[in-house]
Symmetry: D2
Subunit: 354 residues, 4 copies
């Protein structure tokens, strides 16, 4: 089913933007591991920042309630289910778009997919709100990965035409606005402020890496790490592209430029460069697993756009008001980490099986 992901653990997301609750079930977590609940809360808070220039005005504390699967914060082997109540739901904000699909949103496609019976309010099950339970599952997997010596790091590589400088390192880990070069970060924030003033929005690129992965994780053909990570990352709304290592740049290189030559460092096999993003044949080689994700600008903009009135069958105009992010890239960063953590932990468990 399309709202589930995973082979060795199985994540199921449920809920709509304005239903009673959104939530997730995560099955297959090995019994006996302890969950650091405070740390999970801090991770979830990264997805729902308050008072930033780029944030929606929708205010919900997003405190998950764990219904099962934990006994005194220790995983008991049963499926873990956690829910978040939609306390600030305002379904009537969306009445206006009922028959006039918003450009860039899934209004029209969902209507065609579900014969008009879909929950239209706020994108329903296709809403970015579903990344909240995704982050619960991801926050759990991040903690479990850390026990295996694996760390996921990430940064905002660009917002619009403004790029970060330098290489992605763990230095961005604690940052509120995760860039390597804070001067560039300021420029990005200024750009977001500008587009917001105009009722517009802007996209960006997120770079992510998994450090500490052993060599030999991943499976052939359709179960390679690229396949798995891509499958889950495109589950984050607004993602329109993904590339691993040098990615699209590799397409411009020759083999001698792109191949990563092997070397030894303190007796350990490494590669001198990492154009392959730590992946050959879909399987990890022990170098950082790196990838970049293209995030489109938020489709909700306070600019008049052309649309169609599906009832009358005539062209019309629409202006989306309501509470929306001028740039979702900063909030998408923990979502990308969460998704990567789920896919990587799933693959790592598979390796135990043989």
């Amino acid at each position: 089913m399309s709202s589930s992901f995973g082979e060795n653990i199985r994540l199921t997301l449920f809920g709509q933007s304005h239903s009673e609750a959104v939530g997730m079930t995560l099955d297959g977590i090995p019994a006996g591991e302890r969950l650091d609940m405070d740390r999970l809360m801090r991770f979830l808070a990264r997805r729902a920042p308050v008072g930033d220039v780029y944030s929606t005005a929708r205010r919900e504390p997003d405190i998950p309630e764990f219904l099962c699967g934990l006994t005194e914060n220790i995983f008991c082997g049963a499926p873990v289910t956690a829910i978040i109540r939609n306390t600030d739901a305002r379904p009537h904000d969306y009445e206006a778009f009922k028959n006039t699909p918003r450009p860039g949103h899934a209004d029209y496609t969902a209507q065609m997919r579900y014969g008009g019976h879909n929950d239209r309010a706020g994108g329903g099950h296709l809403s970015g709100r579903l990344t909240a339970p995704l982050c619960i599952a991801g926050g759990i997997c991040l903690q479990l990965l850390e026990k295996e010596g694996v760390e996921i790091i990430s940064r905002i590589a660009s917002i619009g035409a403004v790029s970060d400088n330098g290489e992605l390192t763990a230095s961005t880990a604690g940052k509120h606005f995760p860039v390597v070069d804070d001067t560039q970060g300021e420029k990005m924030l200024a750009l977001i402020g500008d587009v917001k003033k105009n009722g517009n929005s802007v996209g960006g690129i997120i770079e992510c890496a998994a450090l500490g992965l052993p060599a030999g994780v991943g499976d052939p053909i359709f179960g390679g790490m690229e396949n798995r990570i891509a499958q889950i990352i495109f589950g984050i709304p607004a993602v329109k592209g993904i590339e691993f290592g040098a990615g699209f740049s590799a397409a411009k290189m020759t083999g001698s430029e792109n191949n990563d030559e092997f070397c030894l460092e303190s007796g350990i096999l490494k590669t001198k460069t990492n154009n392959c993003g730590g992946l050959l044949g879909g399987i990890t080689n022990g170098m950082p697993l790196t990838f970049r994700v293209a995030v489109k600008p938020t489709p909700s903009i306070a600019v008049t756009q052309k649309s169609v009135d599906l009832t009358s069958g005539s062209e019309t105009e629409i202006k989306v008001t309501g509470r929306h992010d001028a740039c979702i890239v900063p909030r998408a960063v923990p979502c990308v980490e969460a998704a990567a953590a789920i896919a990587i932990y799933d693959a790592l468990l598979g390796r135990r099986r043989g």
Copy 2:
């Protein structure tokens, strides 16, 4: 399992580069449809061109033998299995690399994944040879899609720094070297000839589109068309990135630039632009579904590269001889079409279910 793909149809690939045979099983094809075998053969021939500057010298006719699932070329509802014998297998070509992994290849990662028990010859199960049975399955799905009014088209968007001009249209369909602007195609071929002379290789980008898809195909979150297509496309060796619609370019745009406004054309809802690649919320909107795939340069190059002797644990050098493509992009084009056709047909069948 990692060598299988699909939800409503199920493709399983098997075989190694130098085993007795490679093959595929495709389960779930509706009974009663006729297979045009000649057409399938012509499609498979596109993956194994003969005498071109970019091709390997490996010569195998690649005629599939259908073992079951067809009675007089009509699908009978049982799983369809077809195999291709590896008649020109030369496993001893690979003895030299047994303990010295080739840069850019999966030699080392497969060894780590399988504790050294993997079939090393020619990449084993991780070989590009497995795209032959992928193309059998894809060739079948292409025919079935056509009956549903869906056509898959594609082109070489770039080789190295040489890009094609114009927009992708069905005009490239019958072309031996599928580009819109043949002048650019000549430049690409010249570039391939150059790198080949130097024992080097070069990468490129493939652009693909599905025309004629109805709106409403695809499923939420992890079952969106992007998720499905990305998952299968990364099953083609050497693919390092994928983007849908404007993809990474969308990350540089504002919302008002990127949003595709709706309009009516002869009463049918369309969008004026197609930055979303025909996909909103992972579901088709009736416009062409478009995506681009980054293919890295063939890692096998006749240039001396640094590697490590795993037995002695010392750095060494390696030069890969044997039969290899200077550029696999042209041969990857039908593979991309095949993979797309499988993912799209799978999703289309799911739509019937409700």
Copy 3:
């Protein structure tokens, strides 16, 4: 994952006997169908009868809260999640058995499965309490099946050595204690009263049939109706056997006795007998799909039994007190109907796919 079932719809059960809640997610229900909530409540009430001789003294209203997937009782296509709070949880009732496994219960096996980290209270995730969310899903599928003209009927075929008389028909549908021959039903209730007085329990057999199924539902080999129904039915705790049609009796017959000869009734193909239980090759033939399920006696008995103290590693004795059913067969009847409905509706949806 083991707490999920289904191919075209996907049911996931979560929760433990004494966790915050138990619940279910059902993904894949076609959008647009209306749920009759009152009727669902009446169905759920059948699983939790009050004041009967055979019932546990555990009192919980078992009112499900639907968190998502429904908008004004119409399925919106998104996953449907419903939870039931465990309001009458008494985890401390189970402290005594922590290191002394109860015979007939999964205490020991769960401990071995989860390295002692499982939730021991009341059987944890392996508890019969999980049949409450199973019945939510089943109650939904029963309503959807009815719209397809399919009815599920069942009866208590035997309790201990007391058997019902006559053939299973829809006449048992509304009965509080579903038997064809109420005199036999009285004897069954008397037997249950007797074993209860002795602190003992008793098993029984449930017979179930699906009427109105079209011919051609089910899939080959591992996807036959027997495979699907058996897989889900064994998810009901205490089930130890299943047989279809004549079942184990067929093993004593000759081919001429067991084969169901074909005939025509008003131009419709039927069989004169139904030893095959409506299934040939795992696929329905249009006759009633019939099966029988063996339910073991409740393992919780107020009789002193031998066990082992796992801490000291010595033999000991145990006497299970607490709130338990003297016979779970009556309460298992709606569970069997629910499970059958889920498996059959899942297969029926698959048929649409082709």
Copy 4:
């Protein structure tokens, strides 16, 4: 898909009774294990005995050809595919039944399932012939289980009304006609000879046990050992029932009779009886996992039976000639062992994952 089974290993069966070949792909076998090919051949020979009273006259050596997945008889981690050519196919034997379904066969149901496009010859994909590749996979798993200390044993518990005596032990392992009491075995053979003389057939019951399984194998709810074993066992044509431990007899017992009390034997936890068949909550308890399978009489009988001519829509008679077993129970014994081995090895691998 319905022709596939397994969670940690994945078996796919393909082929029809009279297609070019039947075969299987088994994905997920850990790399590095050696296959004893001679032993596998001896196991397969048990399924296709020659010259016995109960055997079909169809003569095929059934030698599998391994196409991939093995390098010098060592599993290389890639999917294992083996095929068996249908050398003695005689599709024209079945022309007569094209429009007149044979009672007890899947002729009619398959026709309804596949809109008449199914391969009718010999049952097509629904044929007992598919148990040949099932036995290849099972023979592999039996060898792998043995390395884990697990042995699968079985016997013919009854043929028609003739039952074996005594308890199932490993003593039946090498026997050509596997019963504990050979005198009863002679009576069974005599009975088969009798029904054969009359052109009739007879059913029977197979008892099977897995010895040496550790406690803690199996998963909750739908992934219990009963669920898994039942799902695969019903993939053997002619199976109509399965019971674990005391099974249907448990339904007649009281809790104090049926519960297996715990005890210690040389410090190891055991149960005094084994009514639960080694399974509590679907998870192994370290005692023998036992189950019994009901096999219906071969539907192909040389007795005139009533059927319907689907073309003319009128009742008619049919007499099935051709090559058939008077009793398939003896040949089904290795199939049951094979199926059990696959399900159990699959579950055992899952346990490694945690």
